[in-house]
Amino acid sequence: STGVAGGNDFQWCFSQVKGAIDEDVAEADIISTVEFNYSGELLATGDKGGRVVIFQHEQESKNRPHLRGEYNVYSTFQSHEPEFDYLKSLEIEEKINKIRWLPQQNAAHFLLSTNDKTIKLWKISERDKRAEGYNLKDEDGRLRDPFRITSLRVPVLMPMDLMVEASPRRIFANAHTYHINSISVNSDHETYLSADDLRINLWHLEITDRSFIFEEPEDPSSRSFFSEIISSISDVKFSHSGRYMMTRDYLSVKVWDLNMENRPVETYQVHEYLRSKLCSLYENDCIFDKFECCWNGSDSAIMTGSYNNFFRMFDRNTRRDITLEASRESSKPRATLKPRKVSTGGKRKKDEISVDSLDFNKKILHTAWHPKDNVIAVAATNNLYIFQDKIN
C-alpha cells in the first residue's frame, strides 16, 4: 500500500498514544490544540480545561537505534481559567484555542497560548542546579542568627533533579472584540495572518492601513442555505516556504499562491460524500465543526482531519491521497496503519465503511506535522496519537 509524503513504499505506523482509555470523556480532557515547536523537540497540547501539556522528544536509545525516540511529559500547567464578562453577560471559556511556539533564543522556551479573549506568553525553563551553603540560612531554610556566624562561606551550585517550570510572562487581555481563533506568523517575519470567523487578513507588519483579502468569488448558481456555513474558513496556515497559504473549509482544503488572491491554485476534497448529508449534519451541529490543517516540513504534503477518527493526507506532487484512522485497535508498537476508505456508491466493498456508519462524535479537528521528520501528532477527542514513518 502506498502512503503520502515519501516514495512509493512509504508507510505510516503507530508510535504512541497518550490519554485515558475510558469511554466516559470529561469535557475538560478534550484536546483543543496541538503544536510542535520549531525543532520538533517539543510537542504542546492544550485542552478544554485550560491546561497545557508539553512533551519532549527523548533521544533514541543507544540500545535500540532502529526505533525513533519517544515523546514523554516535560511540563504541564494551568494556562487559562474560566472567567465571566459581567458587562456582556458572557462566560469566557478557558479552552485553549491555539498554542504558538516562539523561535528559541536562549535556554528557555517561550510559547503563546490563547483562549477566546486572552493571549498569554509562557516561559518554560529548566532548573537542574541549586545553591547550597548559604550564610544566613541553613539547609531547611531556617534563618540563622547572624551574631552566631563566625565564618563566611561561598554558596556552591549543586546538581538537583531536573525541574521544569512554567511561568506567565505577559498577559494580553482585551486584544480582540471577536473570538480569537488563529494567528500565524510568516517565515519572512514581515507578514502575519489573523483569522476570525468571516475573513482572512494578510497584513504586512509595516503597513497598518491596508491588507490583501483572499476571497474566492461565490458561484451564484451554487448558492444555498448551506453555502455560507460550509464555505466558512475554519483554519488557515502559511506554508513553511512562505510562498503559499492553505485554508480549510468544511468539505475541502485549498492551497493559495500569495501572489494570486482571486482563486486557489489547488483544491482537495476531504469528504465530499458529506455534501448529500448536510441536512442531518446541520441538525446535529456537526456542520459547525472547525477542522484544522497542516503542512509537512517540505510543503509537499498536507494533512487534515475528518470524522470516525479518520484523517487525510494529500501529496501535492503526485496528487495521491490517503485516509488513515487513529484508533486503539491499530495501536500496537510499530504496527503499520492500513488505509481506510468510505464507500460512496451503492456497493460497499469489504473493509470499506459506509457514510451512514461513520461515527460523527469521533472528530479529528487538530493535527500537527513535525517540522523536519515524518512524525505526526493527531488529537482524537481526549487521546493524543503519535505516528511515524516506518524505519527499515
Partner: protein, 98 residues
C-alpha cells in the same frame, strides 16, 4: 427526474429537505444562524445595568438574595454576580500527563 436533480446538486436537495422540516429557517432577523450560534456562546442571564442600579437604590440595605434554587431567577430578584453558577477551573492534572 428527481434523482437526476439530486445527483446534479446534492446541496440543493439537502436544502429542500431542511426547509421542509423547518419552514421558518433563515427568515429570522439578527443575522445568519451561523453567526448567532457563535455569538451566543456562553451567554448567561446577568444585567450589569440592572444590578448596578439596584445596588445604588438600596445603598444601605442588602439586595434580595436568590432563593434556594439559584437557577430560578424570577420576579423582583436581580441576579447578582454571586448568583451566577461559578465555574471553577479544573485543578486536576491532565490525563495526558498521567
Amino acid at each position: 427526474q428527481d434523482s437526476q436533480e439530486k445527483n446534479a446538486n446534492p446541496v440543493k436537495a439537502e436544502e429542500a429537505k431542511l426547509k421542509a422540516k423547518y419552514p421558518g429557517l433563515g427568515q429570522k432577523p439578527g443575522g445568519s444562524d451561523f453567526l448567532m450560534k457563535r455569538l451566543q456562546k456562553g451567554q448567561k442571564y446577568f444585567d450589569s445595568g440592572d444590578y448596578n442600579m439596584a445596588k445604588a437604590k438600596m445603598k444601605n440595605k442588602q439586595l434580595p438574595v436568590a432563593g434556594p434554587d439559584k437557577n430560578l431567577v424570577t420576579g423582583d430578584h436581580i441576579p447578582t454576580p454571586q448568583d451566577l453558577p461559578q465555574r471553577k477551573s479544573s485543578l486536576v492534572t491532565s490525563k495526558l500527563a498521567g
